[in-house]
């Protein structure tokens, strides 16, 4: 049962020599072989994981810990495909900064997890290698695009996982699978070696069993990187230092309007708990999140059309006939939005509305320390739900798109069940307010305060 341990518990157990890293890794591998033929969280399981565990340096910050990594992080020695046949069998020649930091901290990459192809989606159904199923109920989707990572954590196939978020791709699958998903501020964690989706919002981050684990992993992967010019030079601090004061937290009525009634009830109950913890929670107003769908769709498609232009099959990978339907749709819509005569109508206008949304958040954070922001309007949907819905992802991610296009930090954590499926509570904070978001989330998650 070592596979069930949280990261914090596993580290403690290893350091106290209650068990060894090979035992921990073996326990996760057994869980994978038991469940993954049904769940399909992994695209590749690291065949050298057990061997690496035998020589792991337990004195390091993540020494001997098995971590699952989304398949859009380049990993030397493990295939990296971003779940697209264009990159089928591709072996990276260099390491992403995030996985490099994990390895340096002593972690073992137990495998690469399934995702929506190129991270285009919120279901994991657009993966060219087949859907991942939700461990809470395999008839349901895990969410996405980091659906494999969320499912691997929820099914205890790893101690913790890494995902990436462009708009909801960490927080929404975490919500649907009932785990913790944390999106650091854009620029807090390096994008170097992450297969690019929308470069102005791509943010790597952890999916974990507890808030404490998310804080621990973030501290290791965050920081300035000379290979990513958008990373912040601001120092990374201890994300779980205790809260010094009671905070003012806003809850937007426009966001609550979008919630399904039973899920909304649970979110309001969670907000009530924050009040019981001494914080002031107050209804406020934000720009309606429907506008973010328009902005995000245009900006994301435009950046995708540019980023995926490099896949020509000449230097690596297969040619452009290997792109799946969703990737083709996104590349084409982006090409259209950027094309001569339409640029002002779509791309430029969307970037102006983006400014309005950022200004609206600035105003809100002048008054409130944090805002309530659930990652999903309701519980997971059934496998097959994305068929013939080219805007599925945007509609599911409506509540996390505003914070993503503004580059904010946010967390999603379980707050109850509807029809036995997890519902998420979420908080967002100003840029680089990781500490506040994690501290309040951690306070909320503690059973007896």
């Amino acid at each position: 049962m070592l596979n069930k341990l949280s990261l914090t518990e596993a580290l403690k157990g290893l350091k106290q020599k209650k068990f060894s890293s090979p035992e921990l890794v073996q326990s996760c591998l057994e869980q994978i072989s038991k469940l993954d033929s049904r769940i399909h969280a992994f695209l590749h399981v690291n065949p050298g994981a057990l061997k690496e565990a035998k020589t792991a340096d337990i004195s390091k910050p993540l020494g001997g810990i098995p971590i699952a990594v989304k398949d859009n992080f380049l990993t030397v020695g493990l295939p990296t495909t971003a779940s697209s046949l264009v990159l089928d069998g591709y072996m990276p020649h260099y390491e992403s900064t995030v996985t490099g930091k994990l390895k340096e901290a002593g972690a073992i990459i137990i495998g690469k997890t399934n995702m929506d192809a190129w991270a285009h989606g919120s279901s994991t159904e657009t993966s060219d290698y087949g859907v991942t199923r939700n461990p809470r109920n395999p008839d349901y989707l895990p969410g996405g695009s980091s659906g494999g990572s969320a499912a691997a954590v929820a099914a205890d196939m790893c101690t913790a996982a890494i995902g990436s978020e462009t708009a909801g791709s960490i927080r929404q699958p975490a919500a649907w699978c009932g785990v913790v998903g944390f999106k650091p501020t854009y620029g807090r964690v390096s994008r170097y070696g992450v297969i690019a989706m929308a470069s102005s919002t791509d943010s790597p981050g952890p999916l974990t069993k507890t808030v404490e684990d998310a804080a621990l992993l973030t501290r290791i992967i965050a920081g300035h990187d000379p290979f990513d010019a958008t990373t912040s030079p601001l120092p990374v601090s201890d994300h779980l230092s205790p809260l010094k004061s009671h905070l003012k937290i806003g809850i937007s009525k426009e966001y609550m309007e979008v919630m399904q009634p039973e899920a909304k009830e649970l979110v309001l109950k969670a907000a009530k708990r924050l009040e019981e913890l001494g914080h002031l929670v107050e209804e406020t107003s934000l720009i309606h999140p429907k506008y973010s769908i328009g902005v995000y769709t245009i900006v994301q498609r435009s950046e995708v059309s540019s980023n995926l232009a490099r896949y020509d099959g000449i230097r690596y990978g297969h040619d452009r006939s290997y792109f799946g339907e969703e990737a083709k749709r996104r590349i084409m819509l982006g090409t259209y939005a950027l094309s001569s005569g339409y640029y002002d109508q779509y791309y430029n206008r969307a970037q102006k509305v983006r400014t309005l949304i950022i200004q609206d958040f600035h105003k809100a954070f002048h008054k409130y320390d944090l805002l309530v922001d659930p990652a999903s309007p309701g519980p997971a949907l059934k496998v097959g739900s994305t068929a013939n819905d080219p805007m599925f992802g945007e509609m599911q991610d409506i509540l996390v798109e505003p914070s993503s296009i503004a580059g904010l930090t946010g967390i999603s954590l379980p707050c109850g069940l509807v029809n036995s499926l997890p519902i998420s509570f979420g908080l967002i904070g100003p840029q680089f307010a990781e500490n506040l978001v994690l501290q309040v989330a951690n306070q909320y998650a503690q059973p007896n305060i």
């Binding site: 020649h93 958008t230 912040s232 328009g294 769709t297 230097r315 452009r320 590349i331 819509l333 102006k352």
Partner: protein, 87 residues
């Protein structure tokens, strides 16, 4: 929206039936995103990045440690498909 033209611009070969299918879907998507036209943006500057960082530079040093070995090479050059007809 001229789907065939955009596919050509994006260098994407379409499968039979995709052109008609995408045409319908793009029209729906464009209708959904038109919601942003409701907001007045006449005096607003566009935002293309959110870091607040400007003019980030690095040293002018060559790092050849991560150069890819080409899948097909000839005398140290990449072999690429020809762009002119052979005749």
């Amino acid at each position: 929206m001229d789907v065939a033209h955009v596919a050509k611009l994006a260098n994407l070969p379409l499968k039979p039936g995709e052109q008609a299918k995408f045409q319908k879907q793009f029209e729906e998507t464009l209708k959904t995103i038109a919601v942003i036209d409701e907001l007045d943006t006449s005096h607003v500057e566009p935002t293309s990045q959110v870091t607040g960082l400007v003019n980030v530079t690095r040293g002018d040093a060559i790092d050849s440690s991560r150069i890819l070995p080409p899948p097909k090479s000839n005398n140290g050059y990449f072999v690429v498909p020809s762009i002119f007809d052979a005749q």
